[in-house]
Symmetry: C3
Subunit: 313 residues, 3 copies
Amino acid sequence: MQVKSILTADQFTRSDLDLILNKTALIESLLKNHKQLNILNEYILATMFFEPSTRTRLSFESAMHRLGGRVVTAVGMQFSSLAKGETLFDTLKVLESYADICAIRHPVEGASTVAAKSISIPVINAGDGAGEHPTQAILDLYTISVYKDIIHKKIKVGFVGDIKYGRTIHSLIKLLSKYNASFIFISPSEIGLPDKYKEALTNQNIEYKETSDIDALAECDVGYITRIQEERFLDHSTFEKFKDLYIINKNLLKKCREDIIIMHPLPRLNEVSTEIDQMPQAVYFKQAEYGLYSRMTLLLYVTGLLDKLDAFK
Amino acid sequence: MQVKSILTADQFTRSDLDLILNKTALIESLLKNHKQLNILNEYILATMFFEPSTRTRLSFESAMHRLGGRVVTAVGMQFSSLAKGETLFDTLKVLESYADICAIRHPVEGASTVAAKSISIPVINAGDGAGEHPTQAILDLYTISVYKDIIHKKIKVGFVGDIKYGRTIHSLIKLLSKYNASFIFISPSEIGLPDKYKEALTNQNIEYKETSDIDALAECDVGYITRIQEERFLDHSTFEKFKDLYIINKNLLKKCREDIIIMHPLPRLNEVSTEIDQMPQAVYFKQAEYGLYSRMTLLLYVTGLLDKLDAFK
Amino acid sequence: MQVKSILTADQFTRSDLDLILNKTALIESLLKNHKQLNILNEYILATMFFEPSTRTRLSFESAMHRLGGRVVTAVGMQFSSLAKGETLFDTLKVLESYADICAIRHPVEGASTVAAKSISIPVINAGDGAGEHPTQAILDLYTISVYKDIIHKKIKVGFVGDIKYGRTIHSLIKLLSKYNASFIFISPSEIGLPDKYKEALTNQNIEYKETSDIDALAECDVGYITRIQEERFLDHSTFEKFKDLYIINKNLLKKCREDIIIMHPLPRLNEVSTEIDQMPQAVYFKQAEYGLYSRMTLLLYVTGLLDKLDAFK
């Protein structure tokens, strides 16, 4: 088995991404006629969630099950040895005999890179603090590709909300930069796009603009909304000022293109009104479903078994 | 797959119940020669336990495994998104792609009904606060049917303990009302049967009486004992007054019919003495075992696959 | 199925141990060509961890999966019924219909023996407080047997650290006493070997000596290092005095035999320097790997299915 880990959105070339989108579409289509694609039958996935994230964990675990695989899991406070002072290296080291793939979620940036250095099995970063969340970025990219022809056409993506701290946004920008996309960042300037990302866009000659006006969404093909996270703000009053600043509702959608899609990595609070849940523009629940297919692809990608999908065609 | 959820004991007709009892007896008998009945091989059950209940959860999970199925699980404090303010609807919505069946336990009455409205896969109520616990009622009914010929004979069931708050009692009364049963409710009047249940019995011309005298158990075919739950009482002294009021022990059983069966939904404290554990009358541990068979039946019921059992005959 | 539980290191005869070592070696070799040995396909293991121990739990669960089996699990605070006052007997009793094997970890000494008396399925003690940890002792013995010819030669084993409270040491001494081994106990006298173990060694004419000098490791074939556990000391200053007393590092290894192996049950803190992790003497991560194979053997041992391994030869 060739060991590939998934640690950062940066690691993917355009050709990797095209392959992944392609295989994910194949999986989505195969699952219409198969409940399960038995490829990872004798493989064990360890989901090591040092901070809880039920949705992401269940998405990985279901993906593994739908590929015929097996799962062992550890969540949050169960990590007693860490409490006793054990290093992450030691905690994970033993996994290389217990499992064939490790999906790790950790509150500290860079933890998944440490993990990948510790063990000889593929590691998948399932979110590491303020760092990366590459599998979320892949599922976001796949979602866009389902609704928009990103291979042949230029698209304009509007990001709304907390663009400073939103790691899913940072990862998705990296992936979309490999396609023909331009960006509008809609946020108060205090929580706008950090300079290093702006520089990267400028260096790649990628068109973007910044605004605090939500009406800018009117010119976008995709609206990607994020929650403004209270835990990011030192003072409560700043948070209060921002939290209900942008609300996506029926009124706002009237000003937008009819074929705009509204995405959200979930959980959402008020920033997307439930009144639009049933509208065709609202694709955030489909996005979670696409997470299943994308993660199935990524589990096959890290085990070098993507080709086995061809047997089901 | 035809979607049927199990939300309340009220939903079952007599003919549903007869079918379920019948199939449960078939499963019990098949498991003497099979460790596993491979019917749900490519199905995933999500056990979403927003409050912990190890016995009930393991019962569902083992039932799924014994049918060849797979399980993903989330328990208690792992639900980080709810802590961030996410609605139950949003939390559950994503499950419809991750799983094929959802068993939900929740501290709030009505939560499973919300769940069933949220998602397009079958939902099984595994207990929702002061509301219902229909799968417990089914396993209780099955237990009675193993020991008593409820199809052909009239039975008298004595309920003992906290009849006011005991949700398993309320659900079981509903099911037994569809058979030829009469009831004795044995409790202090302060924690007696709520009026709405009495009215329902009266409207159906079902015979019942109320008493605080435990000796009334002498005339019963079934004694269904419940724990008096401290958390239900506002003042500790009332709880203290009631907690050891009724104790089922060898002495009491001497006054009862020789073929009485003593049931308890567990956990028990002092209300059933361990000195009777080995007596034939004590069926509470068998009751837990019957929970496995009943829940296997219900997993097949919600997926519309009960007929597949015939292949094993 | 013949029910054998694993409760204490004392229960194994020399011939049991030889069989177990032999089968574990067979499993290790078979796993080079098989990812999974499908012997326990329709069996369910319940891992009941009343105190968390992620490494041990995952080791059991992976072992079960690698044998084709299924797992249900309950960890720590999930045991709500115990919090309500239920006895361990009642909590476990229901497992006998839900699972085929129960691996139990519990903070109270003797809990696994209570468990084995409660239920009619095999119970495996996965550590019970200050009591026993027999599966750790088996994996330790297997590790030694991989590197040293314990069947034909005499070996000298040096135990270092907390020899008073280290339950893994106590269990391992019992197993090694059935082979041709002598012991050196290296610790401050305050945390030396308890008298009852010394008497047992004397009664069996087994050679041992005690010292506080770490240089005694120079004459050993095996160095078994343990963490000095803060939670065992009433006063913090005594702990501080002992905690960094013995540190196994490159310098120390220079004084030792070239073929010494350094073992540790993990988690480790400072007592084994990470600078030796890559040296051939350091076998503590292999030890964890051998835990997988040993526990596979033990799962087959308790179900009476060890012979099924022959089919894979």
